[in-house]
Amino acid sequence: MINLNRRTFMAGLGATATLAAMASRATAADPLKVGYIYVGPINDGGWNTAHEAGRQQMLKTLGDKVTSVYVENVAEGPDSERVMRDLVNQGCKLIYATSVGYNDFALKVAKAFPDVKVEMCTGWNHADNLSNYNIRFHQARSVFGTMAAMLSKSGVGGYIATFPVPEVVSGINSFTLAARKVNPNWKTKVIWINTWYDPAKEADAARALIDQGAEVLTQHTDSPAAVQVCESKSIPTFGQGSDQGQFGPKMCKSSSLDLWGSFYSQRTQAVLDGSWKPEDTYWGFKEGALDIAPIVNVPDDVKAAAEKVKAGWLDGSYNVYAGPIKAQDGTVKAAAGAALDDGAILGMDWLVEGVDGTLPS
């Protein structure tokens, strides 16, 4: 296994340039080289940590049939294209681009190198050698929404949101819909802080929501700052991305866990077999791509209700996006008996009834 950060990667470029020509003559017996790019550091305790854990699992599963390199702290935007091209020049035949801001640049790289396969996380472009993959994050949000409504007396919860992209919007809607199944008068107060990462602002937003009467809190940001505020103010909360229980031993009731490992193993294996086809992957609880950390410090009935929701996702008896669903302005988005399809969830740009606050433009 080769570990690289941005700097040593750059330093090694000169040396690897000569190797690129050799790599292009690689025979079938050579191991497949797989490249990953990460938007942040691999030890952020959230999003990137989860992807790195998935990469490690893939390496363990496939053994010496593959080698892998990663580059961390790759900014979303044009520079990501340069980094991906460098990975291809190093001999990578499969690239995992793990953040939404690489979307258009992953497509450019795929078009430039038809013999390289590109997998784009939370993306939406299509090409013969490009697929997208995503996790049904909203499934875990519905478990937390159910618990939130049961843990709150007043029926008011707080949600720290980042940007109005479908992934975040569908999390808010799922949380709210699930809570309203328990308490029809439930309200979710939302603050948009327009950053994935500013711990002091995340903490201030948490305080503001709590001071405004939120009795339960959850967040879609990358740091555990809000969890710490909740711990100090005795407000139940839920972590996201990876287990944030260490930052709120009493009040962090559970966390959503992103498990990319089996996806990475399966798709990499497909390239090895020659059976890889461009197809989008959208996995959840059932496929083992999503789980929740053990539920702690809640009454038994709350835990039972939460586990029932998760079990419902597993056996198909629960769907938070089954109708009737009304948007904030009262328009019916899904009638009784109908349900939102994947396209509606992946392109969600409206808030459900019960959410306080508006989508930023």
Partner: protein, 310 residues
């Protein structure tokens, strides 16, 4: 809007204002000596990781504050040697210091990601902070009271003491101060070190009080707010206090208004709200230059390298 609500907003404002107040006071003294150090953000981050690491390893918040101050002062000495002894350009060196401090704190911090530390909270007995009145007065970290004391000390030092007068003389007319025998470079070294120490403490406020964890870029650009604050204050310590709380209120107010679901908050996008402190600074600068009487407070030698040619 109940009293409880106003108190809650106030307490959050104090938390948001104290780090920029501390760093701004340090930068004020530095600038009063005629040195413009734009490396505040870098010094804050170095102070933040030094304070966090000390707290994580020793468990002593007071020691953490001292180490953070020492670390901030230490990196400011890089700036001092380059600009004072070697007469490098202050703006360029200050920007380089910010980049250096950001990188250094990330490097040191790699071993500390994911660690949690206890919060450096109030040192008053809990019984004092039970009622409304008590919460407004006694519910803060000792660093908050320290920041108030420092406002008084800096104001007194600059206006009422002989060393303060010398420092101002050095900042206003370095050649005259030099010709009557004062060590311009020595005074400026001391002022830069003080600025570094205060920025270090201001940076340490983040992991010690606000968000008891380490993560890259923890201070989130507030070093730049501190520099804007000095200009906003017209180089007056008491105005730094008012400005810090005004800037803190602007940021906090947005969050509270949004949490209340008030529709008028969507008139401005979030980025525009975040830009308001800077906009206010520009307006104040314009006001200062229009009314000449208030403009005399800027140190006349600010940013100019001192080269004693005569």
């Amino acid at each position: 809007m109940s009293i409880e609500y106003i108190i809650a907003v106030f307490i959050t404002v104090v938390g948001a204002s104290t780090p920029i107040l501390l760093a701004g006071l340090g930068e004020l003294v530095t600038e009063k000596s005629g040195v413009l150090n734009l490396g505040v953000e870098g010094m804050m981050l170095v102070g933040a990781i030094a304070g966090f690491a000390t707290m994580d390893l020793t468990g002593s918040p007071w020691l953490a504050v001292v180490v953070a101050a020492a670390a901030g002062a230490a990196v400011s000495m890089i700036f001092a040697v380059l600009t004072l002894s070697l007469s490098a350009n202050q703006v360029a060196t200050g920007l380089a210091l910010t980049i250096f401090g950001t990188g250094l704190s990330t490097l040191i911090g790699q071993g500390f990601t994911g660690h949690g530390i206890p919060t450096f909270g109030t040192f008053f007995p809990e019984a004092l902070a039970n009622d409304r009145f008590g919460r407004v007065l006694f519910s803060y970290s000792p660093l908050v009271y320290f920041s108030f004391i420092m406002v008084g000390l800096v104001a007194w030092f600059l206006a009422r003491t002989r060393p303060g007068l010398i420092l101002r003389a050095v900042g206003d007319n370095d050649l005259s101060a030099h010709s009557i025998g004062y060590s311009v470079i020595g005074v400026r070294y001391a002022a830069v070190a003080f600025g570094g120490a205060m920025a270090g403490i201001g940076g340490a406020y983040f992991p010690l009080v606000l968000t008891p964890q380490w993560s890259e870029g923890l201070t989130g650009g507030r070093g730049w707010i501190a520099i804007a604050l000095v200009v906003f204050s017209g180089w007056r310590p008491v105005w730094i206090l008012a400005g810090a709380y005004f800037f803190g209120l602007l940021g906090t107010f947005e969050l509270y208004a949004k949490a209340s679901g008030a529709s008028w908050t969507s008139i401005l996008p979030s980025e525009a709200w975040a830009a308001l402190p800077y906009l206010a600074t520009v307006l104040v600068l314009a006001a200062i230059s229009v009314s000449k009487s208030a403009g005399g407070n800027a140190p006349a030698s600010l940013g100019k390298p001192f080269v004693p040619s005569t």
